[in-house]
Amino acid sequence: MSTFPVSAWLIAAIFGFIVTTTVAGALIAVLSRRIIRSVAGLALCCLGLAGLYYFLNSPFLALMEILIYIGAVCVTIIFGVMLSEPDEVAPAEQRGRERWWGGIALLVSLAIFWGVSRLSLQGRWPAPAPAADGSVQAIGIALLTTYSLPFELISLVLLVAILGALVIARGGRTPS
């Protein structure tokens, strides 16, 4: 690391860019008034999270994050946006209550952020253990031996979720 100081700074710059992407995506997802921009913010946040997973020694989960969150979840939410009219309206008579609720939400979220980050930054974490193998091969072997029952249960949950979604969204449909 010390023989190539420029590369360390380059990696730090990329890391800062990824953190900024995540924070900006979360802020866009929460603060924008149009829902479609909010979905785009969620996709940006998930892209940043994929980069963070890459920095956390897990390129497999980075790819899975892009595949599942951006490829499945965000696209599904966009389908939901197309089938309904979800834009936030700003009625004039509710302006006072709206601001009141915004203040309460800001207060609660700032308190949670302050408390959780203070706890996690000041906590005495144990010293890093010697790293075992965390490669994709180890994940695959563990999924098919130790965690085979939860693995099968996840597939069952997904099947039931698909069937339930079809049944719920089908009811009340008028043949026209």
Binding site: V30, V73, E88, V108, A161, I168
Partner: protein
């Protein structure tokens, strides 16, 4: 604290997970439509997954366990989104609106 060693310290990731959690809770309180609340819920899911991955990278003896758990979190989030969106579509078909202020049939 050297800035170049920032990616190798758990503090940044933990603070970022706390930020994602608080942003999700802010959106959950603030949003007026069901899809907005669903997006905020996804942010909270991501915060939990990032926390798991951080602890898995820096403090766990076996780094495969946290990755598998985050994989399960992603699968459950996908199932949750499918169910929630079908409920939202059913609600929109019945009420012609998904604003949470107008879904007040059970309001006493």
């Amino acid at each position: 604290m050297n800035l170049a060693h920032l990616p190798d310290q758990p503090g940044v990731y933990l603070a970022l997970a706390a930020f994602l959690l608080s942003a999700g809770i802010y959106g959950l309180i603030r949003r007026r439509t069901l899809i907005g609340m669903l997006i905020s819920g996804e942010l909270i899911f991501s915060a939990a997954a990032l926390n798991f991955m951080t602890v898995n990278r820096f403090m766990a003896p076996n780094p495969a366990v946290g990755q598998i758990f985050v994989l399960f979190i992603m699968g459950l989030a996908a199932a949750e989104v499918a169910i929630a969106l079908s409920i939202i579509i059913a609600v929109y078909r019945n009420y012609r609106s998904i604003h949470s202020q107008e879904l007040s049939e059970l309001n006493g």
